[in-house]
Symmetry: C2
Subunit: 343 residues, 2 copies
């Protein structure tokens, strides 16, 4: 059995209606709502075929049909009219992107908020990859006796500050020397690379100033441990899923929210290593908690290098056309903003 034009029309009608109403749809309703020029009986026959093909299913005998994961997949791949954002939405995103923003983290968190507001879904944004981001420059500033502020500027523009213990008798000049060594040896290298290859070199360089080495050990581990830390995941609009009828069951909400508290599974959802825009539908998700959810995700870049990912998460019954359009536009905008920042 093959898909023909009429089957496609009917499948599209089912998916669109189910996305809009969240109610199973029957043959009579399709005939009434969508002008296909055939009677409910004919539609019934076609629906039986579509069910055989695995594109739709029946919650129970006397209910209408709903799309299966495969049905959504077919819809996304073949049936969907690609959508472009309306001017209002574009303007909102663009207004946001022209704001004077100080730090990359702020850009990311705004993005997350905006995504969830525009889609009415839950947004997941993966911040810049710490261990992979290149070390830029290091500075020391006085803090209080025995401690200094270590300011680290990454090449992607992120600025971090750490407070480190140095002991009371280290001098400003000595700190200068330490910073000099770090800056000279590590500039442009990712922290991953430092840890794997450069540690020895830095030590041997510093060991000429024997009494410095204990302190610098601490500093290095501060920097590197920090890079070990989870890359931050920004969530937005988690409450939006409470509006979806598929989550009127509290226990579902609970398991989902529990996963939201952990970073690792969320990262996985975004396929941060896959290029381009990805649509993952229902059971295609590897995590069982998300098997009735779909995820639209895409990467953002700085200077052509992928540094993070954004996505939206919602029930499989989501408005794919709109969500895809928004995620797509958003990653482009984000890539542009971040690249612009670096001049």
């Amino acid at each position: 059995m093959q898909m023909d034009e009429r089957k496609r029309k009917i499948l599209r009608a089912i998916v669109q209606d189910y996305i809009a109403t969240a109610e199973p749809i029957g043959s009579r309703t399709i005939a009434r709502k969508f002008d296909l020029g055939v009677s409910p009986a004919t539609i019934r026959n076609e629906m039986a075929d579509l069910e055989d093909l695995g594109y739709i299913e029946q919650p129970h005998t006397s209910a209408g049909r709903i799309p299966s994961d495969a049905g959504y997949r077919y819809f996304v791949d073949c049936l969907m009219d690609p959508q472009v954002l309306n001017d209002e939405e574009k303007e909102i995103i663009e207004r946001e992107s022209t704001k004077r923003i100080q730090q990359i983290q702020e850009v990311i968190s705004h993005t997350s908020k905006l995504l969830s507001e525009l889609t009415n879904l839950t947004s997941i944004v993966l911040g810049p990859h710490k261990a992979k981001s290149a070390f830029g420059k290091m500075h020391f500033l006085p803090y209080q006796p025995g401690q200094v502020i270590m300011v680290i500027v990454k090449e992607n523009g992120v600025v971090e500050n750490h407070i480190v213990d140095v002991g009371e008798n280290i001098t400003a000049e000595e700190l200068q020397k330490v910073a000099g060594v770090f800056n000279q040896k590590m500039r442009g290298y990712s922290l991953d690379h430092v840890k794997r290859s450069l540690l020895h070199e830095i030590y041997s360089e510093l060991s000429r100033q024997r009494h410095l080495i204990d302190n610098t050990l601490d500093m290095l581990s501060t920097i590197l441990d920090d890079s070990e830390e989870e890359d931050r995941v920004y969530l937005g609009g988690t409450l939006n899923i409470l509006n979806q009828p598929e989550f009127k069951d509290l226990s579902k909400v609970k398991t989902l929210f529990k996963v939201f508290e952990e970073n690792e599974p969320l990262k996985k959802l975004l396929h941060p290593n896959q290029e381009g825009l990805n649509v993952t539908i229902g059971g295609e998700n590897t995590l069982k908690e998300f098997q009735d959810c779909s995820v639209i995700s895409a990467n953002y870049k700085v200077n052509g290098i992928t540094i993070g990912a954004v996505g939206v998460l919602g029930p499989t019954r989501m408005d794919y056309a709109k969500a895809i359009a928004i995620v797509d536009f958003m990653t482009r905008s984000l890539t542009e903003v971040l690249t612009r920042r670096r001049r």
Copy 2:
């Protein structure tokens, strides 16, 4: 009608049992579970009195009694056995407080997490008050052409960095001068005070270097706008409330979580301006969303000055003795840690 010893015993029994089971409790059950030496009938008579006094109420005629807000209040004020933490709990908190912590923000967020874990309630922690925190010192570091990193050290130990536009032709010496003026004029004063009283003085000082003033204006507004920003509120264990039977209704959860997304109402809950430990029960909360919740809150200090507040939020049916003990111990520990950091 007066409270006598037996009435107190019965009220205590009702509150304790209801806290443990979340089920209305009847006279027969009280007689069975608690060894009061009287029959259910006697207890019934006393319960009728307690209801007249407003300490307990009946959800409906044929159900047992549950404590009213006034009942909880009486329990907390007069009946409760004050609890001390067990060694395990103490150890957990103390282990946390001896960790090497870099920044005050981390201490606060750990506190929030710990509070919610120990109490199984939702924790709310109000970070250090920005506008009221005193300016300490300012430094400039190079960033990229036309922008510099402005590092600000508050007197409470908080370190912030901002990126500011300065135009391409400002020199390092000029920045030094600007920092000098800021440091000299603002040190030790709260940003509130700077905004109210010192702005003029700083401008007139800087106007000697005419061409600097535009840039410094920007910097000042960066600092001061930031102080306008919401003081951050840290929430922990929001999912814990989903385990409470009183929140099995999704719409309740939704309204509550909606409030969680805003800072202002949460701050109000903590009574950050009230000294000592506060217990706010049910209807005593001014926000209608929280009228079936109770809040235990207390202030923490640095060097004797209140700079923030912590609290736990749960259903009125919470384990007050335990929650109070934990919040109390936690604020003391936090105060101690933060004071120690400053040496």
